[in-house]
Amino acid sequence: MSSEGNYYVPEQSKLPIFCATAMGLMAFGAASWVIEGGDAKIFLVGLALMTVVMYKWWSLVIDENMQGLVSPQLKHSYVLGMLWFIFSEVMFFAAFFGALFYVRVLVNAWIGGEAAVALFDSTPTAAAAANNEILWPGYERQWPVMQTPDQAVNGDSAMFKGPDRSMSLPLWEYPVSQWLSKLYTLLPWLPLWNTVILLTSSFTVHLAHTGLKEGKRDVFLRYLGITVMLGFLFLCLQVAEYYEAYAHYGLTLKSGIYGTTFFMLTGFHGAHVTLGTAMLLIQFIRGLKGQFSSDDHFGFEAASWYWHFVDVVWLGLFLVVYIFG
């Protein structure tokens, strides 16, 4: 609710219309780019304009804040804006997780000729079996999908060919009794290291926050710097993992639904890590310039919330894409 006294309304600005122009160019340019024979020129022009606009816009907001123009009420609006933005991101990931569960639990069973969940799925087994026989004979229910329905029917001439290896927990290849002695197979398993890195970075960003609140600038900068480096390290490992997948596992975007869900989920997460790292890096530079005080540092706080969100998404991915992948 509003405080006493006058409202603060920022002065008018032309930035929004430039920003919209940039978005329009980027959208049109991206579409022209993906069409066969297209190029990225328009997209790049849009991107350049967008970069300038974002720099100007945030500089303006930071300047206004430094001048003390921003009322506590407006600051609270920023907080609400960030929180609801993160909520919209949650829903974006929900769409892809939802697609994964739907395909994995239901579709995979149905085209394999089985009932999906015995309790709820009353599709008669005979009907499901017929479904399989007519449409995709020879396909068996499996996850990860190593042999696509296309391959089951068309063999080597199939358009979608399953991967040679999946990214799942290496231990699944062994019976449970051998797990202890096979623990070493986890050492070269990159997702595990990436989990450790991201969890640590969530912790260090929290330490940076605490340091900032207590007014310890050196603690803040040190831990924020470490966080940014961990984020960067994560991205490097992910690039290595993708290289491995394409070069040695036969696992690509085109290798059926497993490759599709694997790359789309981890890819969008990676894009968000990139964004989060960039946000934190900017906050680090702002920190070096001394733009934060112990009670006024929302730019950093928003970035750190985003970082924690990205971390939580990773935990979900680690569970359903890697461990139980």
Partner: protein, 454 residues
């Protein structure tokens, strides 16, 4: 203006979400002139029609949807932040005008489902250009997955259209009944309940795709549940009018027509929700009639009502009441001539989405067409009335244009000054309901612009 704020919480972002739209629409329109033609797969763009068999222009469609989605999300976040943060001191949530409530809930729905639509078109993009198999069973995906993701967005989307309409009607009916809205809190809870249910009923659009019986049953019962909060609302509107001092100005006429026609459309909705029966009705003109009764009578009638109701406040001039009433009666009669026969056509088996139809359907189609032209004429009259009001209307200077109107927007000058509330209005709690005192807005604002709509 209805909550005593000077502007949106984040005015520049508001501006941005507006300016994105012309660019997005320009991209969409440009597809019409492209090689291979524009997107040719209907508004529901089901895969594989929109993926495997789509023209190249589908890529422009996808990215236009992306930036429109960004616009909607930013706009909605702004609405939520404004309502949560900018209410006048003393205006608790349960004292907000109902129109504000419906917008808060609508904005929440938008923030929740627009990213899902973005996800759906992204999956399309990947399937078309990068060889993924979300919607291709050959790779282990499923075209029906598209319908699930799409309708998870699509069903809340129709409530996004209708909830603000509920809000409008809930403002107008009390005004012209000269009584407070009956059952304010139950209205709020009913709106929230409808919003919640909208997330869990999406597959009633897909009764014929071959879901397991358990799925059909669940979506059938969940859909029927929506009738309960909707019934609460209709009951409240009618009870508000009961024993009120009614007058029938144009906004009120449209609002009453809204209640009648929307209820009628709601009943055909109940018929459609019965999974076993829907298999017969699916994709027939019966469905077309149903959603025009809820959407046209719902969104367009209430939108028209809203324009007539607030137009004097926006521009300081009164519209021509006689012309408004004539427009109403033409619109009301023409609407029914257009869409009522479509129920019969649908029940007789005329399918949707064909350019042609069997001879036996010709008679009712002709009736329907006549109605449609009449209805279009009524809309032209509406446009003429609005434009004429702005150019030649009788000036009004009363702050309170309508005798029975309640709310902050009726306490400030007409037309409302730019950035209406420089200081928050002050509330004094009187005997019945809140009473507001608005200090005359300081004339110090240097801006010279047309007054903004609240």
């Amino acid at each position: 203006m209805m909550i005593g704020a000077p502007d949106m919480a984040l005015p520049r972002m508001n501006n941005l979400s507006f300016w994105i739209l012309p660019f997005a629409f320009a991209i969409l329109v440009s597809t019409l002139f492209m090689e291979g033609g524009g997107p040719n797969f209907g508004w529901t763009f089901y895969a594989p029609l929109s993926t495997t068999f789509a023209p190249d222009s589908v890529n422009y469609f996808i990215f236009a949807v992306h930036i429109m989605g960004a616009s909607s999300i930013m706009g909605s976040i702004n609405i939520i932040a404004t309502i949560m943060n900018m209410r006048a001191p003393g205006m608790t949530y349960m004292k907000m005008p109902l129109f504000v409530w419906t917008w808060l809930i609508t904005a929440f729905l938008l923030v929740a489902v627009m990213p899902v639509l973005a996800g759906a078109v992204t999956m399309m993009l990947m399937d078309i250009n990068f060889g993924t198999s979300f919607f291709n069973a050959a790779g282990g995906g499923d075209p029906v997955l598209f319908q699930h993701v799409f309708w998870f967005f699509g069903h809340p989307e129709v409530y996004i259209i209708i909830l603000p309409a509920f809000g409008v009607v809930s403002q107008i009916i009390p005004t012209f009944s000269r009584k407070p809205l009956f059952g304010y809190s139950s209205m709020v809870y009913a709106t929230a309940a409808i919003a919640f249910l909208s997330f869990v009923v999406w597959a009633h659009h897909m009764f014929t795709v071959g879901m397991p019986i358990a799925g059909e049953l669940y979506f059938m019962y969940a859909t029927m549940l929506i009738a309960v909060p909707t019934g609460v609302k209709v009951f409240n509107w009618i009870t508000t009018m009961y024993r009120g001092a009614l007058t029938f100005e144009t906004p009120m006429l449209f609002s009453i027509a809204f209640v009648i026609l929307f209820t009628f459309g709601g009943f055909t909705g109940l018929m459609l929700s019965v999974a076993a029966a829907d298999i017969q009705y699916h994709d027939t003109y019966f469905v077309v009639a149903h959603f025009h009764y809820v959407m046209v009578a719902g969104a367009v009638f209430s939108g028209t009502a809203a324009v007539y109701y607030w137009l004097p406040k926006w521009c300081g001039k009164m519209y021509n009441e006689t012309m408004g009433k004539i427009q109403f009666w033409i619109a009301f009669i023409a609407f029914n001539i257009t869409f009522m026969p479509q129920h019969f056509l649908g029940l007789a088996g005329m399918p949707r989405r064909y350019a042609d139809y069997g001879l036996q359907f010709a008679d009712w189609n002709m009736v329907s067409s006549i109605g449609a032209f009449m209805y279009g004429g009524a809309q032209l009259l509406f446009l003429f009335n609005v434009v004429r009001t702005i150019t030649h209307g009788q000036p009004v200077s009363d702050a309170k244009v309508w005798e029975g109107a309640e709310g902050l927007e009726w306490l400030v000058a007409t037309p409302a000054p730019y950035h209406t509330f420089i200081k928050p209005p002050v509330m004094s709690v009187g005997g019945e309901g809140p009473e507001w005192r608005v200090d005359a807005p300081a004339p110090a604002m240097a801006f010279k612009m047309a007054p903004e709509a609240g």
